[in-house]
Every structure is written in C-alpha cells, then in structure tokens.
C-alpha cells in the first residue's frame, strides 16, 4: 500500500473518504496521537471556512429543534446507554487501551465443532458486535480503539491456521488496512507451571517482535500487540514468567 494512513487526515477532515477509507482511518486515528492532533487543527480551519456560508435559517426551525430536544432524555442519560469506549478519552495523548476483548469471545461454541464451523460462528458474532458499535463510532474527538472484532471483520483480512504438535491449533488473522492482527487458539495445551506463552509477529525483514503474553486458556482470541502490517506470520513460544525479548522455545508457527 503506497498510501500512508497518516496522509488521509486531510481527506478525513473534509469528509472526502469513501465509507471503507473512513472506517480504516478511524481505526488508525484511535492509534495515532499525531493524526488526532492534526485533525483537531484542521477542524478549526474548516470551521472557519464553513462559517463563511452562514445564512439565517427559516424561523420555524428554532421551535422545531427545541421541541425535538425537549422530547429527548438528558444527554448524560443518553450517553450512558452508549458503549463506553466512545465516551471516555484518557487525559493523556496515549491512545485508549487496545486489548479489550469483544464479549463474543466468551460465547464461543463447544469444543467439538470443526474449526471451520467455529470460525464462521466467531466471525458472525464479531460482525454483530461491530454493527452495534458502528452506530456510535464517528463521534468527534473520541476515536475508538481497534478491537479483535474489527480485525476479524476487516474486508482485507487474511488468515492462516496451523496445528500445534502438542494438540490444538492457532489461526492468525491480519488486516493491512488496520495494521493489526488477531491470534485465535483452540484446544492448545496451557503453559506449564513456571512458564508463559508469548505471541510473536514475523515480519518481512528483521526478527520476530513480541505481540504480548497470552492468557492461560486453551481457547482464546487475542488482539496482537504491535504493527502487523505486512506481517508474514506469527508464532507462540514458551518463555519464563514475564516473557522474553526473543522467542525461546517455539511451539507453533503460522505463516501467511
């Protein structure tokens, strides 16, 4: 992809992006403090420009607006019904936490299903979550963090599955437009006492980068840490508690 997502900020501010581009940029915005700052500035500029076209509206509009609002609950009550991710911004410039797992992960079907069936159910559930969240996504200045569900639902998501020698399997799903990847494990043996499982991303050049420590569960869906754009694969290794900077004993590799 030759287009750097940073470069879309002007097009986004001017609403010149297609719906797909807009969604991809909003996902980027949740991760990129530079673009959020840039966007804030552009919005002031465009508000100056937009103010140039001021025209007194028909007199009936005022009463129509105030009547409509009088029928509605107070904003705070309204906002409380929204998914919390859209309304809270950290006071710092750090993007919101990205490791929130969609609630659907706990609703995975029973283990005896075939991998493909499980996959379909998982994707359908993830899409449902995205559809609900999507309604409130675009609120100004409250970009939402990318979730595992976003990656699973991304139109450009690619995936690959490998079986672990010790039983179970792992599926890697990567979206270049979001720049993130998700690891889904099924029936994997848990880490032995005194060790942890650590996830890694493989890149076209350079060594593997840590993608985070895994939870101690045989079935999980994990949003991998780090930039996954153009990642060539992922792996899971056994590490001492706290993890390592380089993989020690790799127990499964998934190549894309």
């Amino acid at each position: 992809m030759t287009d750097d997502l940073h470069d879309q900020v002007a097009g986004y501010a001017m609403d010149a992006l297609t719906p797909d581009e807009r969604a991809a940029f909003e996902a980027h915005l949740a991760q990129c403090a530079d673009c959020r700052d840039e966007l804030d500035g552009l919005r002031e500029t465009l508000a100056d420009w937009g103010s140039d076209f001021a025209v007194e509206p028909p007199e009936t509009l005022r009463a129509a607006v105030l009547d409509a609002v009088a029928q509605l609950p107070a904003p705070s009550a309204q906002a409380a019904k929204e998914p919390p991710i859209t309304d809270t911004r950290p006071a710092t410039d750090d993007p919101p936490a990205t490791d929130t797992q969609p609630a659907t992960v706990t609703a995975l079907p029973a283990r005896d299903r075939s991998g493909w069936e499980r996959w379909r159910v998982l994707v359908a559930a993830a899409l449902a979550v995205v559809a609900v969240i999507g309604i409130s996504v675009w609120q100004p200045w409250a970009p939402r963090a990318i979730t595992a569900a976003d990656v699973l639902a991304a139109p450009d998501a690619v995936r690959a599955t490998s079986s672990a020698p010790g039983g179970g399997s792992a599926t890697l799903v990567r979206s270049n437009s979001l720049g993130r990847a998700v690891l889904i494990t099924q029936g994997m043996a848990p880490a032995q006492a005194g060790t942890v499982h650590q996830a890694w991303l493989m890149h076209p050049s350079g060594g593997p980068t840590s993608a985070g420590l895994m939870a101690d569960a045989p079935d999980q869906t994990m949003l991998l840490e780090g930039d996954a754009r153009d990642a060539t694969g992922a792996g899971i290794s056994v590490e001492p508690p706290g993890g390592s900077t380089e993989p020690t004993t790799v127990i499964i590799e998934i190549g894309l």
Partner: protein, 192 residues
C-alpha cells in the same frame, strides 16, 4: 493545567455544549442562537436545497444534544465540534441523495462558487469571511478547485479526480497541500 472542564479562552459555543452535557435544556436555545446560521448555511451550501438543509440542520442539533457529553474542550472549540457534525451529516446526505439520482452535471466548477442566488443575498456578514477568502487565494488553482469540490460539494477523492480529470494521487496530494496551506494562512492570527 487548571479547570479542565472550562473551555479555553472565551468560547460561548463550547460553554453551551458543556451546559447541554449537564442536562440544561435552556442551553440548547443558547447553542441554537449562537450557531444556527452557520449550521444551516453550511448544510445549505453542501446540499443546495433549502428544504433538505432545514431537515438536516434539525437532525444536527438533535445529534448535538445527544452527543454533547463527548465534546472535549481541550481538543478544540465548540464551533469546530458542531461544524464537524454538520459537514459530516450534510455530506452523508448529499451522497445518499445522489445514490438514487444521477448527479446534476450542471453543478460545474463555475457554479460551485456562486451557489443559489438567494443564498448569496441572504448571506450573513461574517468577520471571518474576508480572512478565509484571502487565504483561499493563496492556494494554487488546482489546490483550490480540489478543496472546494471536496469540502463544499461533498465529493470523494475519486469524484474530485473525475471532475478535474487529474490522477487520484494528484488530487489527494492537492487536497492535503491545499488544506495545510489554508491552515497555515489562518493559523497564527486565529481565535482568542
């Protein structure tokens, strides 16, 4: 940093939004009186249809009421927040209308600046107007055409490229450079 919940400087629109967020219905009247001409005018400029602009303006104020709890004064002015919603809604509506009716090819470049005759007559004098117009003249011809087609007519990058018969990549960079230049020209002597 003190008083996080106070808008910086004097921002009456931001104040009204914060009061709305506190549930004060009367603040909505204040917000409306401060911004209705700008909201309606921008919607009208993008939509070019007074009835549609009125309908969309009402939706915008309702949305402002529902979303005002998300207004963060440390991120920008109340007006920028509200006109962001305004522009997004107007553009989305113009696209959904155009999805069912073929774009009127009479909306050429020349026409884009003129707007509807009565719009020009009714235009409220704005102290900002001269400043922005001057800044726009600092853009190259192609930059100006590209940013106007995108912002004022609600065209996507690809539609702007089509209209101007230049490659998509060129349009993207002209829009980016154009809006950056506009920002630089308006930046220093801005609000406050």
């Amino acid at each position: 940093m003190e008083a996080v919940d106070e808008p910086r400087g004097s921002d009456p629109v931001g104040h009204a939004l914060l009061a709305c967020a506190a549930g004060e219905q009367s603040a909505m009247a204040t917000l409306y009186d401060l911004t209705a001409a700008k909201v309606y005018g921008l919607a009208l400029r993008v939509l070019r249809n007074p009835a549609l602009a009125e309908e969309v303006a009402q939706e915008i104020f309702v949305e402002a009421w529902q979303r005002c709890a998300g207004y963060a004064p440390d991120r920008g002015s109340g007006l920028a927040w509200l006109l962001t919603i305004t522009h997004r809604r107007a553009v989305d509506r113009v696209r959904s209308v155009q999805a069912s009716t073929v774009r009127d090819s009479a909306y050429g470049l020349e026409d884009a600046a003129a707007g509807q005759p009565d719009v020009a007559e009714q235009a409220v004098a704005s102290v900002e107007a001269g400043r922005v117009r001057k800044a726009l003249h600092g853009l190259s011809h192609l930059q100006r055409q590209a940013v106007e087609l995108a912002f004022l007519d609600g065209l996507t990058h690809a539609e702007v490229a089509d209209e101007l018969r230049v490659p998509l990549g060129t349009v993207k960079s002209r829009i980016r450079d154009g809006v950056t230049r506009l920002k630089a020209a308006l930046g220093g002597d801005g609000h406050d």
